[in-house]
């Protein structure tokens, strides 16, 4: 069984896993990070989306063993230690971007990645980016609003941060 060493939300993790262990199983079942959800388990829905070395990956479609040496960030790793929501999470709250909340961790991780590669996405770009994130509740409108609002907040915050 492969031994692996990786970083999860800033902490070093060393584990022995089976070849077939999925990254999402490592996160949820071994590390107790149950904020990452399994919606479909068929690579469609994006509820399991996490960041691997800063980029979106469906953790149900990556072997844990393939994460050797990687830096993983899950939804548990995005808010401040005191629980203050990050900009994308706060925008979801503000714009009512969730109903049951099942898709939300994946949505937040996906949108965070979008805003990394594109600071000023158009509405169309947000919708296209979210093709691999399925929400059965909201009809997406408020999720898109939250993403656009988070982008605006982040753009507005930049000059302040630079001072």
């Amino acid at each position: 069984m492969p031994g692996i060493k990786l970083t999860v939300n800033g902490k070093t993790v060393e584990k022995t896993v089976e070849g077939r262990t999925l990254l999402v199983q490592l996160l949820r079942e071994e590390l107790g990070l149950t904020g990452t959800h399994v919606g479909c388990d068929t690579s469609q829905c994006g509820a399991c989306l996490v960041h691997v070395n800063g980029e979106s990956v469906k953790s149900c479609t990556m072997l844990a063993a393939a994460a050797e040496g990687a830096e993983i960030t899950t939804i548990e790793g995005v808010s401040s230690r005191d629980g203050t929501l990050n900009v994308v999470q706060a925008a979801f709250q503000e714009h009512h971007g969730l109903q049951c909340g099942f898709c939300t961790p994946g949505m937040v991780m996906s949108i965070t990645d979008l805003l990394r590669v594109n600071a000023s996405p158009s509405e169309t770009e947000v919708r296209e980016w979210l093709e691999g994130n399925i929400c059965r509740c909201t009809g997406y409108h408020n999720i898109v609003k939250a993403a656009l609002s988070a982008a605006e907040t982040l753009r507005g915050a930049q000059p302040v941060a630079a001072e």
Binding site: G19, L63, A66, W129, G132, N133
Partner: protein, 265 residues
Amino acid sequence: MYNFDYLRPASLAEAVEAMKGEDAQAISGGQTLIPTLKARLASPSVLVDLSGLAELKGVSREGDKLAIGAATRHADVAGSEAVRSAIPALAALAGNIGDPAVRNRGTLGGSVANNDPAACYPSAALALGATIHTSAGRAIAADDFFLGMFETALEEGELVTRVDFPIPTAANYQKFEQPASRFALVGVFVARFPGGARVAITGACEGGVSRWDAAEAALSSDFSAGAVTGMAFPADALIGDIHGTPAYRANLIGVLTRRAVQACG
């Protein structure tokens, strides 16, 4: 999923050696293979992970062709300046496969080796007249590589190492997405070269990715949408399923071919 051993070779040579093991299988991005394993449609005893092999990654322009390593991810092809300037249609194709998370793992080599009849890359390889290089030292023309649905010329244990794409004067890929899977319900790749045009169809054909000879002949003498107006791909070679009848697909092939030619300018 049945269990398997997992190997992370440090070099292509090590990977080739590991592939000699009984029931060994390569894994690259896993975006096709992991769902297949979950469905228990494959039961390898060992998976050989190619995704960490630097020698299989990257894009380089070599004269009149682009060489792309087999383990190069869709996101990297989509974002590559070399691909965008030499064959923008190929960058656009890669940038529209699945969704961003799929593109951050899935690779060119996995796509051509898998030869899914609805996949995008095989149509680009066929229309551009690409050459598929393998770990056995073979250089296989795309025309001889794609043999049928999920079938290629690869031998047991043989790995795709890179694909060379000749640079056309113009090219365009039109994809009509199956809305649930986002694969091509029909995809048409048109490439124009000084010596003539090539047209490859994906998503639609019983025999997997296929060239449309009649359209190629028409476009080679007159490269215009008008030259293919009224032409029909033979419907008896087309897939009929819950997503569309052969006649529906035949119509889409005509429409998308004309759009692709127009988009070539």
